[in-house]
């Protein structure tokens, strides 16, 4: 090993250490940005070191340079543009898109390596096995993440798409991975095995994600993020590059943990989500026509404003409805009026509120809500009995008390104890159902009033009305 190659590998090691520290700094909002900058800096140095290594080895052709720089510049420009332009509400689909290209790149590396090697038949299982795994995982992630992003963006139907034979296909395709992988390991020079594996994996990504409902997309994205991490680590095995193994597995472990945390927050197993069928979208038919709407108490903006203005403690419960209406700024403004009037305001954030874990926190942060007012479920639940008003904005399933009883779609899911507050106000456009497709018992609770309005419009009205009372 020559000096440059040695130096570059020390640089890679330092970069890997910086990635770990960068992720570690993400454990507090105050240091998180520094962590990300550290990680990005380490990445830039690692990329520069790789360029140095390539220059030093001097085996790259002129066309190779052209391909490397033009591909890099094009990708960087697209990524930069997308990252700058994206609306915060569309963040989950963008993360999914970036995840797709990451997985795609990892798969292409293995394909490239297997195609380029002059004597592929001589490749041992040491390269061909991780290569085959890289292709399978990377390609599944690529097509799966694209479908997930499409579902969140509304390009692909958010409802679970089930077609005849889907279940059978989802058994046959993984079986053919195993066959294809074994074939490729035994005969690394077989083009049929290589292309076949790519095609089957791409198809499986689609058939795996299509039957999963939009509500479960956060879990799917997180899971696919973990997949990409493993694909990158496999690419590291193929290329003999420790940096890729370390960074890839770091991400894979983090994605795995996040996926588990989210599944726990919904009281469901990961397997249950992936097998699908629950996240039926908001078009789910109401099975129970018990005439519940008749018992609902509808109230006006003025009624709500009086309650808010004379409260001493208010807890906001933002949900997907808030995100969809992009009403985070209006909520922040209303909270500010109340805080200025000396009212104790906090936000109860369910772990799966929004479309990604912690997505609601990002939206509220965008609206300049101090993060000290954001409270996680376990911290805020004991506070509800002291709250004069709990204002629910577009959150449905996560506030439904029937989750405490067995025998329904959301049984056992940890919820926000909104019904413990002295008074409850729900801002909602209609009596429509949440993702779980069940009636929310909270709405017929005598303590609860329904303020039927679009979140954005309703909150502006409330702010104006509260302004009248508090002067």
């Amino acid at each position: 090993m020559d000096t440059v190659s040695n130096a570059v590998h020390y640089i890679f090691l330092a970069a890997a250490a910086c990635f770990v520290m960068g992720l570690h700094l993400m454990n507090h909002p105050r240091t998180a940005r520094r962590g990300n900058t550290l990680s990005a800096g380490a990445m830039a140095v690692a990329i520069a070191a790789t360029a140095w290594l390539i220059l030093d080895e001097n085996v790259i052709s002129t066309t190779g340079w052209l391909v490397l720089t033009s591909g890099g510049v094009l990708g960087a420009a697209l990524g930069l543009w997308a990252a700058r332009e994206v609306q915060m509400t569309a963040m989950p689909q963008l993360v999914s898109l970036f995840n797709a290209v990451g997985g795609g790149a990892a798969a292409l590396i293995a394909v490239g390596e297997l195609l380029q090697t002059e004597h592929p038949a001589a490749l041992g299982a040491r390269v061909s096995l991780p290569g085959a795994l890289d292709i399978v995982i990377g390609a599944v992630t690529f097509s799966g993440s694209l479908i997930a992003a499409g579902k969140l963006q509304g390009v692909v139907s958010g409802a679970p798409v089930v077609f005849p034979g889907a279940r059978l296909l989802n058994v046959l395709l993984p079986a053919s991975f195993v066959a294809g992988t074994v074939w490729l390991v035994l005969a690394p020079d077989s083009r049929v095995a290589l292309y076949g594996l790519v095609a089957v994996a791409l198809l499986f990504g689609v058939t795996m994600v299509l039957p999963i409902g939009g509500a479960d997309m956060p879990v799917v994205i997180s899971l696919l993020n973990a997949f990409t991490g493993s694909a990158v680590a496999m690419a590291g095995f193929v290329l003999d590059e420790t940096a890729l193994i370390i960074a890839g597995m770091l991400v894979s472990a983090s994605g795995g943990i996040l996926t588990k945390l989210m599944a726990d927050a919904m009281n469901r197993s990961i397997a249950n989500i992936v097998i699908g069928g629950f996240g039926t979208g908001d078009s789910a038919p109401a099975a129970t026509g018990s005439g519940a709407p008749a018992q609902v108490r509808s109230i006006s903006a003025d009624d709500v404003a009086i309650q808010l203005a004379y409260a001493s403690k208010v807890i906001f419960v933002p949900g997907y409805g808030l995100a969809a209406a992009q009403a985070q700024h209006e909520l922040g403004d209303l909270a500010k009026v109340l805080t200025d009037h000396g009212i104790d305001v906090s936000y109860a954030v369910h772990p799966v509120a929004g479309r990604m874990p912690g997505h609601m926190n990002v939206l509220l942060a965008e609206a300049n809500v101090p993060y000290t007012q954001l409270k996680e479920m376990d911290d805020v639940n004991p506070e509800f009995p002291q709250a004069d008003v709990a204002l629910v904005i577009g959150a449905n399933d996560v506030t439904n008390p029937i989750a405490r009883r067995p025998g329904n779609a959301i049984s056992g899911m940890p919820i926000l104890d909104v019904d413990q507050a002295k008074s409850v106000v729900v801002i909602k456009r209609s009596m429509g159902h949440g993702y779980a497709g069940v009636d929310n018992e909270l709405y017929t609770n005598p303590k609860a009033g329904m303020f039927f309005a679009d979140a954005k419009k309703g909150l502006s009205e409330l702010k104006a009305a509260v302004g009248e009372f508090v002067g």
Partner: protein
């Protein structure tokens, strides 16, 4: 390239998983979206692999593969870090930013 022996590679693999679990389990739910996006940009290190593949390419098929891998990897890494930074910027302590932001919002609202 150096020839990493299999045992070393697997050791690195296992230790990285453990470090990942240890580091991530301490992150509060508030930061889970930036965390996901941030870890997403870390696997953008795949761009290094794409560069090595581009350097080895000598056939037109190889060049096409390398080009797409480069574009994908670069998009992952640049976009990932920039968008994570944008999110985290909003989480920083407010006092200085608050005035500007609310003035801007008032302007938008026509106040």
């Amino acid at each position: 390239m150096n020839n990493l022996d299999l045992l070393t590679a697997i050791t690195v693999f296992v230790l990285s998983v453990l470090v990942g679990i240890e580091v991530i389990s301490k992150v509060p739910a508030t930061l889970h979206t930036p965390l996901m996006s941030g870890s997403n940009s870390v696997h953008g290190i795949v761009v290094i692999g794409a560069m090595l593949i581009a350097a080895e390419s000598h056939t037109w098929l190889g060049y096409v593969l390398a080009f797409v891998a480069m574009a994908f990897g670069a998009m992952n890494v640049v976009g990932g870090y920039v968008v994570t930074d944008r999110m985290l910027e909003m989480f920083k302590a407010k006092p200085a930013a608050e005035k500007n932001q609310s003035a801007e919002q008032n302007q938008k609202a026509g106040v």
